[in-house]
Symmetry: C2
Subunit: 448 residues, 2 copies
Amino acid sequence: MQQIGIAIAGFGTVGQGVYKHLLQNRALLQQRLGIRFAVHGIAVRNLRRKRLVKVPRALLTRDWKSLVEDPRVSIVVELFGGCNEARRLILAALRKGKSVVTANKALLAEHGEEIFEVTARYRAKIYFEASVAGGVPIIKALREGLIVNRFQMIYGILNGTCNYILSKMSRDGTSFAKALAAAQRDGYAEANPALDIDGIDAGHKVAILASLSNGFLMPFSKVHIEGIRSITPLDIRFARLLGYEIKLLGIIRAENGIEARVHPVLIPRSHILAAVDGVYNAIVVRGDVVGDAMFYGRGAGADATASAVIADISEAGLDRLYSTEMRPLLGPRGRGAAKIKSIDDVVSRYYLRLSVVDRPGVLAGIASVLARAHIGISSVIQPEGHEGKVVPLILMIHDAKYRDMRRALQQIVKLPTIRGRPMLVRVESFDVAPFDGGQDLRPGGDVS
Amino acid sequence: MQQIGIAIAGFGTVGQGVYKHLLQNRALLQQRLGIRFAVHGIAVRNLRRKRLVKVPRALLTRDWKSLVEDPRVSIVVELFGGCNEARRLILAALRKGKSVVTANKALLAEHGEEIFEVTARYRAKIYFEASVAGGVPIIKALREGLIVNRFQMIYGILNGTCNYILSKMSRDGTSFAKALAAAQRDGYAEANPALDIDGIDAGHKVAILASLSNGFLMPFSKVHIEGIRSITPLDIRFARLLGYEIKLLGIIRAENGIEARVHPVLIPRSHILAAVDGVYNAIVVRGDVVGDAMFYGRGAGADATASAVIADISEAGLDRLYSTEMRPLLGPRGRGAAKIKSIDDVVSRYYLRLSVVDRPGVLAGIASVLARAHIGISSVIQPEGHEGKVVPLILMIHDAKYRDMRRALQQIVKLPTIRGRPMLVRVESFDVAPFDGGQDLRPGGDVS
């Protein structure tokens, strides 16, 4: 049996999960792979910290450099998180020709160019299945299982914390603040939740998926990001009334350039993503050959993430055993070959909630601003109120470029009847496959 | 650029799809793989048959043996279907040391032992991603992406034709016969639909998934199979009234032995599989590390299946390029190591619809038979009728072994008030992850 040495850098939730499951399912892994993995060291920041997983004291070290230098170590598993020490560690390991496994989406999204460049230069290998959607093998699916596809669209729920909060708001009618507090109490949101609720974490994942699927490095700064702080129970109620749920989605779309965006979306309640509740992640992939496929599972947590990290360790082990070359990381096109579309040029439908003073002519004023911008209204909900009172007014708006919508909105908020901030949420139906979908299935097929 | 020769045997719907997309996305594939595939021949039964995809006449041959002998051909793609010629072709190719790609689930389920034995003996390789769930890379997910997991449960919608029919019955309230006729008219069911509607096709897939996930060859004859012919609109209506949908599911469960079964199931409408409509397939995998993951997509059709076949061709190409060994086909255990559980020992809840003569004491008679068998009733629906008329009576029954349930039913149908055949459908909730699911996600995790 071939033995391959690994080192783990970072021993938080995920690091402990990886170590635990590597040990617990060791026999299974050996029989499935023909490889025995030996952990030669674990780099930690604090040697004395109490941990849930028992580990021989001799394995722990505060000196990650010694692990990278250790000639017995072929695979370095980076689970520090963050972009400083993690970056130095990964670059050092790659330069030594080691294989690197990482779950660090922030690092890949923000320093991908440097990391991929060093990987190629030293003919090293890097694996990052766990960086997107936790235990769901979405990166393997894109790069291997769906290899013959051009990816027309990839979209989905990429952040479990936001989905937990929005699910709770939808189910219980609670406010954003209360749902966030519940998420924090139950351990589904960090004390500082900004990375999640402001959409940055999902944005990192979108940058990675956009790069993999379109064959060039998508700069994180080009991903359009909006979070969920301003969603109110009122918006969720109106959305449901109109047949929608509100979800925070990451969307990558290739059509006259590449769209890469993260923002709340009204999706039809009949769409399968509307059924994804709680901390689960789900990603829909639309390929020109396969059609629509969806991948669903736990997007976070020690165990689910460990499943992906250990799959990468296994892959790295086999690749070393057979001296395979890494598949090209960024698909068919060279860097910068595709045009990135500005959010201003992205066309979508919109849900617009305004607070207006209830008096005759309110709607006429708004409608005429939109008409001048050639923006169509598809429906209006104006709850009955008392004249002179401030009431919500909901407009569903036809396909329009964001630039036009944004400019029209700048004029609308100046109307004398408008109070407070408007709420604008994109509406996407993603051309839901109809019930009778699957138009390429014909009688007499060999396979059913 | 490395060139690898392939031959395609069978040029029906899927064969044409494979050829078309290999050509259409050739540049993409070359850039992603570093391999150029050359098709050296296509074996057909009828040289003159009209086909949708144009192909040089010189590539077509009725003599598949010449293709297997052709030294330029390294990869043989078997798309004949059926178990006779396909079996001979595959065995001949394996004995020549060629790599075989096949979508033939019937052959693998019914002749897997012989085929895997010859594969191992000749150190050849066989790939069969397209044999289960069309374009969805479920086999790669099980064997690679989720490699560290013990598979506690794999279940899902494995036959698009049945799901189309049941979805249509549920949506429109039509009879089975009418829904089947519609499926045939729309090209979603064969003229002879038995393979699909009697659950045999799903049974083949269950045998393959059970073998891969449990490390021994599951004989097809040990898969318990019931089809959907006897489901009525009445059953679907009552199921919905009780909060369920009826789906034909394949289920593999490892708990004190391996369960492998295909039958209609009442699943809660809140379960994500209940949202899978039409010809789509969806498979839930429960692993001891990853938790629940789901894979969804087109389960059939030329294009989706071609996506999986070409992924296998790519894999086969890389494996030849790097001379890798095939991962063990059947996981960790040797053949026959696990106990296969008889359907009689499978415990589940049940939906039971009886036709009874509406008169006092009917329910008491049925209830006392069940009580003597220690089988509990959880609820009863008895529509109001006229005394003496035949009416449906629905019982929801607590967990019971099928043996006990079956025997009780034999006594119940002998009661003087029972008319016609009883309808018994298993009820499964698969311990649906609660809204607050994902118990391993804790604050301070490295990944979210």
